[in-house]
């Protein structure tokens, strides 16, 4: 279909074959590069921040000795994972609202700003807000696996470190952190395969026409063409481009993982 000028009444067998025309048009379109940039930027930001924060949080939680406190914190930070993006964006709009939104209030209270800022209408802020929202939603959830790994660390290692006079902090840096690394590498490799497919729910819900230049990702771009303009072939071409990139990424990182001696999926 990506190689045709598809039209619904003619169907897939009746539509004329146009070869790579759709792709040629795609690569000429400025909007395509814009969408590609947005997709990659938001994926990379989400990926990096998600990884770093999850590991830090897991390490911190692991240091907590009061079981009740630890359980409570865990229960609370897992909640947003189970809430839909619709609710999350609603919450974000509230929090960032210029009319008494908590974030603006906080900044005013701290004396950092005089006038409330309407964050969601600022193009430059969109990527940051999006990353932050994603982080808020998934941070707790992504610590689960790290905590499981940490609970499996051989206690003798810590005892040995005690004998050698290492403090809490030293133990965290030299024992807990390295024991997380293999798992983290594996998850990172798996995540890279998804880099080009960030999903589009969050961008669609958090974005608005004021920030569209920064919020439109590839899927939304394809959706626009197919559903609003009825140009299905163009939409398919975009989807196919995405799939090709993710196949290459997945196979690539899988090879890389094998070479590094990590476990691999395929």
């Amino acid at each position: 279909m990506a190689f045709q000028k598809y039209s619904i009444p003619k169907g897939i067998f009746g539509s004329p074959f146009v070869g790579f025309d759709q792709f040629a048009e795609l690569f000429k379109d400025d909007q395509f590069y814009n969408a590609l940039r947005n997709t990659l930027a938001m994926s990379v930001m989400g990926l990096v921040s998600g990884f770093v924060c999850a590991i830090v949080l897991a390490l911190l939680l692991n240091e907590v000795r009061l079981t009740l406190f630890k359980r409570t914190v865990q229960t609370i930070v897992y909640i947003p994972h189970f809430v839909s993006w619709v609710v999350i964006s609603n919450i974000m709009i509230f929090v960032l609202s210029p009319d008494y939104g908590p974030f603006n209030e906080l900044l005013k209270y701290l004396g950092l700003i005089e006038e409330p800022i309407y964050f969601l209408s600022k193009e430059k802020w969109f990527w940051i807000i999006h990353t932050f929202a994603g982080l808020w939603k998934e941070l707790g959830w992504s610590t689960i696996i790290y905590l499981a790994v940490l609970s499996g660390v051989n206690p003798e290692l810590y005892e040995a470190a005690d004998v050698d006079g290492a403090g809490r902090f030293k133990k965290m840096i030299y024992i807990s952190f390295p024991s997380l690394l293999p798992t983290a590498t594996m998850l990172l490799i798996l995540a890279v395969g998804h880099l080009i497919s960030t999903g589009y729910e969050s961008q669609m819900l958090l974005g608005n026409s004021l920030v569209i230049e920064y919020s439109k990702v590839l899927d939304l771009y394809a959706l626009d063409y197919a559903l609003k303009l009825g140009d299905y072939s163009y939409g398919v071409a975009i989807s196919m481009f995405k799939s090709m990139v993710s196949i290459i990424l997945v196979l690539g990182v899988n090879q890389l993982a094998k070479r590094l001696g990590q476990s691999h999926v395929l």
């Binding site: 240091e63 609370i76 809430v83 839909s84 609710v87 964006s89 394809a222 476990s263």
Partner: protein, 296 residues
């Protein structure tokens, strides 16, 4: 493990506890704030300054959203989707995972690979849309149920749980004359309840939260889900749909309340069911998650 607390150690602990408390507060606060707003008189909310507790307590906002006829139909539809979808998806996932976990099954390897690949590669949004359209699933209730029957990730988790069941158990059941189906329903399912609970949590939450399929495939209003209704209200406020589209809130209501209050109320209303179920299943899903992931 008793340990002498050094000065640095104490400082570290204090900061650690403080940071974690802050994080938990930052997670919880928006929910509580919305709850307070939803319970506060809407005209009073506009003046600002509502934090954790409502200032002028009222249930008006809730009464108003319950008066909306469309809300009622979308709630029942969402509940129906969640219940039917989760039940059918569980049955399908259990059967597929069980077949894939049996070592004597010839196609085990290739099918496993195909399922894993489907986690990373898909046809893309538009081909998917056309597929659903050509299958005649647009504007039906079935579009909510059928595409989600088998999720690759769920199959992986469940399969790895089945994989580590002792094979002697299944063999001995077979020796005593159990049919293959009886082995599954009488032996495997009862001992797999933790993983089944995990998967049902994942599936039911994703059914409850889904709205994209509603948005893409079902334009008929009688098929609107609760999340989609909420999403429409949300978009009205961020201008994507446009100002002329306030139809899900009737003008009668608008005089007595503000869009902010309605949004807050709807948000809480949509979130509460999840919060009610979630604590009971927490201990299962942590087990289920780590099991599926570590064993990869």
């Amino acid at each position: 493990m008793k340990q002498k607390l050094t000065l640095g150690g104490t400082a570290f602990h204090t900061i650690n506890y403080l940071a974690l408390t802050l994080l938990a507060a930052a997670t919880l606060y928006p929910f509580l704030n919305l709850l307070a707003i939803s319970l506060n008189q809407s005209m009073d909310t506009v003046k600002g300054g509502i934090y954790l507790l409502p200032r002028k307590f009222t249930l008006d906002n809730y009464i108003l959203i319950f008066q909306n006829q469309r809300l009622f139909s979308s709630v029942s539809l969402s509940v129906a989707r969640t219940v039917i979808g989760t039940t059918l998806a569980l049955i399908a996932t259990i059967m597929v995972s069980y077949a894939l976990s049996r070592t004597e099954y010839v196609l085990r390897k290739p099918l496993n690979t195909i399922i894993v690949v489907s986690m990373y590669v898909n046809g893309g949004l538009i081909p998917y849309y056309l597929l659903i359209k050509n299958l005649g699933l647009t504007n039906t209730f079935l579009v909510y149920i059928i595409p989600g029957l088998i999720g690759a990730f769920n199959v992986m988790i469940m399969r790895s749980f089945f994989d580590q069941l002792p094979s002697g158990l299944i063999e001995s059941a077979r020796m005593e004359g159990a049919s293959e189906f009886q082995v599954l329903t009488r032996v495997v399912v009862p001992i797999s309840l933790p993983v089944i609970a995990t998967i049902s949590l994942f599936v039911s939450v994703s059914h409850w939260n889904a709205w994209i399929d509603n948005f893409l495939f079902n334009t008929r209003e009688s098929l609107s889900l609760l999340q989609y209704e909420l999403m429409k209200i949300l978009l009205q406020s961020t201008d994507q749909i446009g100002a002329g589209n306030m139809d899900s809130i009737d003008p009668e209501m608008m005089r007595m309340t503000t869009p902010e209050s309605i949004r807050a109320t709807m948000t809480i209303f949509v979130t509460v069911p999840i919060l009610l179920v979630y604590p009971f299943l927490q201990k299962y899903f942590i087990k289920g998650m780590t099991l599926g992931a570590v064993k990869e």
